[in-house]
Symmetry: C2
Subunit: 132 residues, 2 copies
């Protein structure tokens, strides 16, 4: 199952992106606000996968809380799946703890769902519908 | 620049791997001990990149200390580069803080080097020589 993207929580996209663009030899996408998660997001291509930089847009957003307790850094790991609903059903019946029992709309209008970090050894795992 | 692998720190490979193998539909590689880092490592294919699971083999290993302070979870992000020495020189001259100023031997006998997390927004970034 391919990695769709890797989420990285930062305080400021404007400050973080140039630090990555040089060494990676890539230019970030124009930032996009995802209201449901109260974040501003920009992507950077890294081979066949992507880095997703997340800047909170509100102090009560999950990413703002993550920054408060853990600081900047690796935030989540997303896999691309053909069908998110089928994957959720499969995980649920195998006893994996889910955050989203129903898929919701994420960045770039794609259907996404998160599992609880306790399901995957402390890693916040996301499933995204479609090709990476 | 392609992602070579994503490192995930766990207390026990034997307990963690089956949790990932099912949902990812992949089988982990046989564990390998990397003495220089005092870890036992197993890889799981994820599309054109890999998940690298790290279990400490000694209580004073960097991964053991990470587990103590942060718990299990995402540990580092590795990019594949054609030449690690050239990448280190490029980063050094651009003012990026490095952990390794000289490449060393990592898992699967590959040449690797780590940058300090403060260089990349809290992310421990590794460069690995060769194809992912």
């Amino acid at each position: 199952m391919p990695v769709d993207h890797l989420g990285i929580a930062v305080r400021s996209l404007a400050e973080a992106l140039p630090r990555w663009e040089g060494p990676l030899g890539a230019t970030a996408s124009p930032p996009e606000v995802v209201d449901s998660q109260r974040v501003r997001i920009a992507f950077l291509d890294a081979g066949s996968t992507h880095l997703e930089f997340l800047e909170p847009t509100a102090p009560d957003s999950p990413v703002a809380k993550f920054l408060e307790t853990r600081g900047e850094g690796l935030h989540h790991l997303a896999f691309a799946v053909p069908n998110v609903d089928r994957k959720l059903a499969e995980l649920d019946s195998a006893g994996y703890r889910l955050i989203d029992r129903v898929a919701r709309t994420g960045a770039r209008g794609r259907r996404i769902a998160f599992c609880h970090p306790s399901a995957f050894d402390g890693v916040l795992v996301e499933f995204v519908e479609g090709e990476p």
